[in-house]
Each structure stands twice: as structure tokens, then as C-alpha cells.
Amino acid sequence: MVKFTLNGEPQELNVPSANPLLWVLRESLELTGTKFGCGIGQCGACMVLVNGQPTRSCQMPISAAEGSEVITIEGLSEKGAHSVQEAWVEEQVPQCGYCQSGQIVSAVALLAANPNPTDEDIDGAMSSNICRCGTYPAIRRAIHRAAGIQRQLASTDDGARGEE
């Protein structure tokens, strides 16, 4: 039995402890937004937040999630309202879209750690995610835009309201 919090909801699951978090999310919990791309921690399509840290869910046995707080693409916001998702729409980032859940999660983590990233910061943080459609220039624009949205939110709300 493994217990953890998923998108704010407590979970108790009886699954083999070695099963990667990715497949528990996709198959046991039917949250299919997190994608299988390579299975060896190379592509980032399976990226989720574990205790706020960007984590390749294909490499994390479910047992290691015990007691942690997991957030997937589905848990970032209601209806795509997260500032990063909004920026993704405004910059029209996705093409095939398969890698984008992972890209968005990585970008959320980057901006949480570094609210005003430079291009070099983006290179460093986002090179963990592969996109075969070549949306990299659009992702770069969207991250800068999301940083702008977050700054604006912070100033309008005077810090009273954080990101979801």
C-alpha cells in the first residue's frame, strides 16, 4: 500500500512497489496527460512535480512517492488557467502536443524556482525535455510570456494570490 497526495487529493493504492509512477498515473489512476516517451529518463514527456520538483515519472518507482505531493498536468489548474498554460495558448506552442504536458510541467518548475529566467536559464532547465516538432522557439517565447503574466499577477494581487 502506498499513500501520497495527487493533485491535492489523498491516494491509497495497492500496486507493485516497483511500478513506475508514470504507469500508475496512466493506468491505475487514468490520468493520461502524463506521457510515455522513452522509458529511460531521456525525453521528459513523463515529467511531473513531486514535492514541487520536476521529476521523470518513468524513473520513479511508486514506492518512492510514499508521503509525497505529486502534481500532474491535470492538477496544475482548472481548465488550463495556470499562467504557464495561458502563455502556451497565447504563443500557440503545441504542434503534435505529445511532449507538451512534460514541457509545461518543466516550465512551471523553472518559473517557481526562477521567476525571471534568462534564455540561458531556459536552455538549462528545458533541455531535459525533447520536442520532435521543434517547438523550442515557441516554448522560449511562452516561458518569457508566462514570467510576465506571473509578474503582473503578483503586482496586481500584491502577492496576495499565488499560482495554483
Binding site: 507493485p16 511500478n19 513506475p20 504507469w23 496512466r26 493506468e27 491505475s28 487514468e30 490520468l31 493520461t32 496527460g33 502524463t34 506521457k35 510515455f36 516517451g37 522513452c38 522509458g39 529511460i40 531521456q42 525525453c43 514527456a45 500532474t72 498536468i73 491535470e74 481548465k79 488550463g80 498554460q85 502556451w88 495558448v89 500557440q92 506552442v93 503545441p94 504542434q95 503534435c96 502536443g97 505529445y98 511532449c99 507538451q100 504536458s101 509545461i104 531556459i122 536552455d123 538549462g124 528545458m126 533541455s127 525535455n129 525533447i130 520536442c131 520532435r132 516538432c133 521543434g134 517547438t135 523550442y136 522557439p137 515557441a138 516554448i139 522560449r140
Partner: protein, 734 residues
């Protein structure tokens, strides 16, 4: 995987051979308004039934009584934007803003066979070109009928009624919405011909409308093949022969069956499937199978043997695919010849979503959920997912339904239906729905690769430095030969016999004005499966032609841009993109220190693209800093999508130029995953500036044409910087 099984549409029994006319009338006879029999929605489960009455003047368009407008997209959305651009075509003629239109993926059905030969296929950058007329007509006919319905309601002449923003307007200012008119319109005869708008009247076409698929692709809701299928779908992973042409000799399922969650082990034509309650168990079971393969005659094949065979073939007389002037007498004169050999490797597609397919066979019916580029084909052509699945499952095509999901990348890989065949065969042998998931390793080692090729180039320059003779000898495997059914005799299809345009495109039609030209093709038979890889023959031939012309410019002591320009005097569209990209990149101005620029131009799939790359080399590492790209793709439906496709094609081609190589050792593919088949990542992605040339020419493709010029633009820049001429990809800096 959570929806219920409900009302599979084939159970309505009305999917067979419906004419467009029948589409409309079925619903009327049923007394429920107008229901389009072959419609469905892509959900996680099977088809949701259509509940509302609809007005459906063509298979491509449906207007429900609530006024919702749905375009059936019969092309596969793999990132290239068809699920937005095709609805734009309909919205334009229907006089509605795109925001009022939604889309669904069309089922596999002959009504949607707009591609070559009546195929329902997405490939060759043809979607806009072959959908323009049918979708524009669908919108225009619907508008005509809605206007007629309004005129009848009001008792005025149709030309008194204005159609605008989803409403009919009476001269006195009163309005009727499309929702109010749909039922009445559905009872009218469908007009044969209606006039279409001219470009000056376009309000939706030509605008950078937001993509209709972007919202669900930012929330994780978009359903790809991996995500599709009923909730009780089991998962299978398949063991396949690692050696090309190998066959199964024996296997022992014991190890697999001992894995918790593994249900059964099933022998298939392509290998052995381990079926389990989930992916982890299925893969573990697959890895624990004991299998003995008979490797066959190719078990020692390797890169050296392949390159020797290619070179040998190029040295022999191939099929002449272009001959102008008197090349023999020029080449056999004692004048100085320039000769160079170029080689390109096999490439895998490496779509982000590994191959997968879900199938369910019961009661003589087969339902497939597939991220496929090829849904349906007329009987004689064959090869569509519907035909392939039907045959593999042992049911009729009429009883086979194919649901196309979003594709996590296609690039030509998903034009092959091997992954559908396998899933359907398995589904025919087990109970309940089953999804075959390919591991990344399976995907990379059982691809249909961009063919490796060898190119022998020779040229003679005139006294003015301009080429007087150009001879290009190409050797590679033939993609079309592999695809042609074996019963077709060689003489019936010349491309299956000695030549293959997919191997020589971009070479046989290279545009430079040269009086004596010969291009030959030598077909090489090898067991490596070869297939269509984004821009196909142009991937190799643009690199070769644009590199060799650069060599000749250098030999002539001329600027590579001016040299090309001079040779393209009869090709204004090539020249225009070349001029545009030269101006944008300030070609004539000095390059910042330590950097250099290279240029290349290519026509492919009806579009003209020129690119300039600016590079530097530090510690032996090549950096591509910036790429300028100018495209003339004729009339543009959505400029934002065209720009995105240029960025996409450039990154795809750059990945191949910098890293792409599939090696063959022991008759099998060496590479297995992204650690040894590298992808371009964010830190290596250049800035890209795209310029669209305004054009009233017929629309060209955009999914592929961005790719061909990038490799030579980069390698020509390397030459400009270091003097090293790159004649083999991927690039190795010495």
C-alpha cells in the same frame, strides 16, 4: 481509458457506401432530423452517439440544431495544423468565424478519400492541396442551402438575403441564425455547383487564427493513440525478430507467464505478444520470454557492406531519370572535371509517441483506435488501416471501424500500418480490447528508415565559371518498390522496376540552368525496411545538390548566393525566396567574428524555401545560432501555422544533420533510444526567423518543405568558416 462501450457506429449498419446524398437523407427517413451515419467523436472510449438532428450537406460538415458547426477532419493531426486549417476553409465559405467551428476526426470511409487514388491519407504535404476544393464546396453549399431556407421562410428572393457571421439577414434587418435554419436547409436539394469566394473576399483564410487543438494540448486532455480505447483494454508488448528478415523458430512462454499481471502469450506473424493487465507487466513478460529466432541470410549485414553495395551500384549504369544536352561528349572531353561523392545514413523517425494501436474484435466486427496517417484505401490500392486491420482480424472491411486519434508525431512513419496490422491480428486472437504498445526501443529498431544513399557528382565549368555539365548518380533502396504489392509486374510500374521518384526528387528536378545534365538512379536491394521520412527524397537530394552547387560556386570564385541567383534566372519563385532570405540575413554584410553563413534553396511539395544558417565552431563543437527562412507556399491558409511548420521542419532537419544516423550491425539496428539516437534540445535550438512571401499561386505544402534546405545551409556555412566541405551526414567537424 474510462468511457463506456456504447453504440459502436458500425452497429447502425449504415456506414457502407454512402453517397453524400444518402448522408442527408438517412436522418430524414429515420424521422429524427438529420443524422450523419458515419460520424463519431474521438473520446477515450468508443463512439458517442449523435443525439441532435443535423444538417449535413457533405461528409465533411455537420450543423446541429443547436447551431454548433462541426467540420469532419479527414486528415491526421500530427502537429502540422490540419485540424485548424481545414476548418478555416469551411468557415470561410460558410461565412462564420472560426471560433464558431469545432472539429472531429473523420472515420475511415471512402467518402473521405481526397488524396491520390481515392486514399484517405495524410502525407506528401498534400492536405491543404487536396482538401481545398471539397471543404470549400462543403461550406459554400451549406451556406447556399441555409440562404435558400431563409429566403423561403421570409418569402423573398435568395439574393435578398445576406449571410454573415452565422446568420441570415433580411433586407429589413431581421435575422435568422444557422441553428434556426439548419432543419429547413436539410430538406433542400444539395446544389451541384455554387460559386466559391475569390482571394480578395477571404476573411478567414490567410489569418493567423488560433489553433483549435491547442487548448486540449495544454491541459493533458488531448487523446493520443496511447490514451485511447475502452477502460478494460489490456496491454501487449511484442517480441520481434531483431534481425531483418528473421523468423521465429521456437519460444518458451514460461518466464513471461510467471509475471504477475501477465494473462497470455500469443504468437503473431510479426512476433510474440505478451498480454497483461498493464504496460509494466507486459513489458517485463516480453523481456522474460525465451525466444529462438532463425536469423536468416542477413545476420551479418553491416554498415560497411551496405556502403560498399551503394557505391558499387552508383558506379554501374542506373536508370536515367533526366537527360539534357550531350553530357557524354562534355564529360569525356579532356576538360577539367570536378567530382565528389556524398553519403547519407539511414534515419529513424523517432516520433515522440512510440507506435501503438488499440483493437477490439468481437462478433465479426473490428474496432481500431490508431494514431495513423493512412485510414482508408480503395480495394485495389489497399494498405489503409481499415483494410489492413480487417484482413489481420479476419473480418470484412465493412465491419471494421477505424478511429483516428491525435498523433504524437507522424513524419511519414505512421503512413505504414504495420502497428495496426499487429494489434488487429492480436485482437482477433484474444478476448476484449487490447492495446499494443511499442517501447521506444521497439520503435527505433523496427522503423521504416529514411534510406541510406550514395551520390556521385561530377561537373564541368565553362570559362565564365558557370556549370556546363552536371552529372548526378544516385544509389539507394527504393521505398516505392517495397510498397508496391508483389503481384504488380515491374513493367506495369516503371518506378517499381528501375526508378523511383521518391529517391530522385530534388535531384532530377533541380532547377539550375545547366545545358548538359544527367541524373541516374541505381536501385539497391537490401532488407532494411525503408519508408517516407519528412520530405522523403528531398532530405538527401537537397543536401547533395545544394552542397555541390556551393562547391561549384567556390570553384568559380563566386558568391554562393549570387551564383545560385544567376543560375535561377528562369525560376522566379526560387529567386524570390533566395533574394528575400539574403536580404533578411544581410548576406552581403560582414558576419560577426568567428561566425559564418551558408545558404541553400529547394522546391518541394509545391513550395519554395530558402534558408540561411549562421554558425560558429568552438572546441570542435558546431553551434547553429540563427536560421533565416523565406517561404513561398502560394496562398496561405494560416500564416501562424506556416511559420510554426518552418520552425518545425528546420529543427527536424537540423537534428538529422547534427546527430542522425542509424547504424546496422549484425543485420540489426544498433541504436535503441534517445541516449544513442540524439535529438536536438532547447540549448541547441537556433533562433529562427521566418518570412512568408505574399503569393496568389496555388497553395503548396508546408509540413515538409522547411526540412530540405537546412542541412546544406549549415554545411555550406561550415565550409565558409573552415574550408571543410561536409560530404557526409551527420556532420563531423575535423
Amino acid at each position: 481509458m474510462k468511457d463506456q462501450h456504447s453504440n459502436p457506429i458500425e452497429d447502425k449498419g449504415i456506414t457502407k457506401n454512402l453517397s453524400r446524398r444518402t448522408f442527408v437523407k438517412i436522418g430524414v427517413l429515420a424521422g429524427t432530423g438529420l443524422t450523419l451515419g458515419v460520424s463519431y467523436r474521438v473520446t477515450k472510449g468508443p463512439e458517442a452517439p449523435l443525439t441532435d438532428a443535423v444538417f449535413s450537406p457533405s461528409a465533411f460538415l455537420r450543423i446541429d440544431v443547436d447551431g454548433s458547426i462541426t467540420v469532419m477532419v479527414a486528415k491526421s493531426e500530427m502537429g502540422q495544423g490540419v485540424a485548424t486549417a481545414l476548418p478555416q476553409l469551411v468557415a470561410e465559405e460558410l461565412h462564420v468565424p472560426l471560433s464558431q467551428v469545432s472539429f472531429e476526426f473523420a472515420p475511415a470511409h471512402p467518402a473521405y478519400g481526397t488524396a491520390m487514388g481515392g486514399m484517405q491519407l495524410t502525407g506528401g504535404s498534400t492536405s491543404i492541396r487536396d482538401s481545398w476544393l471539397p471543404l470549400s464546396e462543403a461550406g459554400a453549399k451549406a451556406r447556399w442551402m441555409l440562404r435558400e431556407a431563409a429566403a423561403q421562410r421570409w418569402g423573398v428572393a435568395p439574393d435578398q438575403v445576406q449571410m454573415n457571421e452565422g446568420k441570415a439577414l433580411h433586407p429589413d434587418g431581421s435575422k435568422l441564425t444557422y441553428a434556426q435554419l439548419a432543419s429547413a436547409a436539410a430538406l433542400l436539394d444539395i446544389p451541384k455547383d455554387v460559386p466559391l469566394k475569390g482571394p480578395s473576399e477571404f476573411r478567414v483564410i490567410g489569418t493567423p487564427a488560433p489553433r483549435l487543438d491547442v487548448p486540449t494540448k495544454t491541459t493533458g486532455e488531448a487523446i493520443f493513440g496511447m490514451d485511447a480505447g475502452p477502460s478494460d483494454t489490456r496491454v501487449a508488448v511484442v517480441a520481434r525478430s531483431p534481425v531483418f528478415g528473421g523468423v521465429l523458430r521456437a519460444f518458451d512462454p514460461t518466464g513471461a507467464l510467471e509475471v504477475d499481471g501477465v494473462d497470455e502469450v500469443v504468437e503473431l506473424k510479426s512476433g510474440i505478444a505478451v498480454v497483461a493487465d498493464g504496460y509494466v507487466a507486459a513489458k517485463e513478460g516480453r523481456d522474460l520470454l525465451t525466444v529462438e529466432w532463425a536469423d536468416g541470410e542477413w545476420s551479418t549485414l553491416d554498415d560497411t557492406e551496405i556502403s560498399d553495395l551503394l557505391k558499387e551500384a552508383a558506379d554501374q549504369d542506373g536508370a536515367t531519370v533526366r537527360e539534357e544536352g550531350d553530357i557524354d561528349s562534355v564529360l569525356t572531353s579532356d576538360r577539367e572535371q570536378t567530382r565528389a561523392a556524398y553519403t547519407l545514413p539511414y534515419l529513424a523517425h523517432a516520433t515522440m509517441e512510440p507506435m501503438n494501436c488499440t483493437a477490439w474484435v468481437r462478433n465479426g466486427r473490428c474496432t481500431v483506435w490508431a494514431p495513423t496517417q493512412f485510414q482508408n484505401a480503395p480495394g485495389l490500392v489497399g494498405g489503409g488501416a481499415r483494410q489492413v486491420a480487417a484482413k489481420a482480424a479476419g473480418v470484412s472491411a465493412d465491419n471494421t471501424v477505424v478511429h483516428t486519434t491525435f498523433l504524437g508525431g507522424g513524419f511519414g512513419r505512421r503512413a505504414e500500418q504495420d502497428f495496426v496490422r499487429e494489434a488487429a491480428e492480436l485482437a482477433g486472437k484474444v478476448d476484449g480490447p487490447v492495446k499494443v504498445i511499442w517501447t521506444r526501443e521497439d520503435d527505433m529498431q523496427h522503423d521504416f528508415y529514411r534510406p541510406a544513399s550514395y551520390h556521385d557528382l561530377s561537373a564541368i565549368l565553362g570559362v565564365d565559371g558557370m556549370p556546363e555539365a552536371w552529372c548526378h548518380r544516385i544509389a539507394s533502396q527504393s521505398i516505392l518498390q517495397r510498397m508496391v504489392p508483389s503481384w504488380v509486374p515491374d513493367f506495369a510500374t516503371n518506378w517499381a522496376g528501375t526508378s523511383d521518384p521518391t529517391s530522385t526528387e530534388g535531384a532530377q528536378d533541380q532547377p539550375y540552368h545547366i545545358p548538359n545534365v544527367r541524373v541516374t538512379y541505381s536501385k539497391v536491394d537490401l532488407p532494411v525496411p525503408v519508408g517516407f521520412w519528412r520530405s522523403v527524397g528531398h532530405t538527401q537530394n537537397a543536401f547533395v545538390v545544394e552542397s555541390f552547387i556551393d562547391e561549384l560556386a567556390d570553384l568559380a570564385g563566386q558568391d554562393p548566393y549570387e551564383y545560385r541567383r544567376e543560375l535561377l534566372s528562369e525560376h522566379p519563385r526560387h529567386r524570390a525566396v533566395l533574394d528575400t532570405v539574403a536580404e533578411a540575413s544581410e548576406w552581403a554584410s560582414p558576419v560577426p567574428g568567428g561566425r559564418a553563413r551558408g545558404i541553400a534553396v529547394a522546391e518541394s511539395f509545391g513550395s519554395f524555401v530558402a534558408e540561411v544558417a549562421e554558425i560558429s565552431i568552438q572546441d570542435g563543437q558546431l553551434h547553429v545560432h540563427k536560421v533565416w527562412c523565406a517561404i513561398d507556399c502560394g496562398m496561405v491558409v494560416n500564416p501562424a501555422i506556416v511559420r510554426a511548420q518552418m520552425e518545425s521542419g528546420i529543427v527536424y532537419g537540423l537534428t538529422a544533420a547534427l546527430y542522425g544516423r542509424i547504424n546496422i550491425q549484425g543485420g540489426r539496428v544498433v541504436q535503441s533510444n534517445f541516449h544513442d539516437y540524439q535529438m536536438l534540445r532547447m540549448r541547441d535550438a537556433p533562433d529562427i526567423e521566418v518570412i512568408l512571401l505574399p503569393s496568389q499561386e496555388a497553395p503548396g505544402g508546408v509540413g515538409e518543405p522547411g526540412t530540405p534546405p537546412i542541412a546544406p545551409a549549415v554545411t555550406n556555412a561550415v565550409f565558409a568558416l573552415t574550408g571543410q566541405r561536409i560530404r557526409e551526414l551527420p556532420i563531423q567537424i575535423v
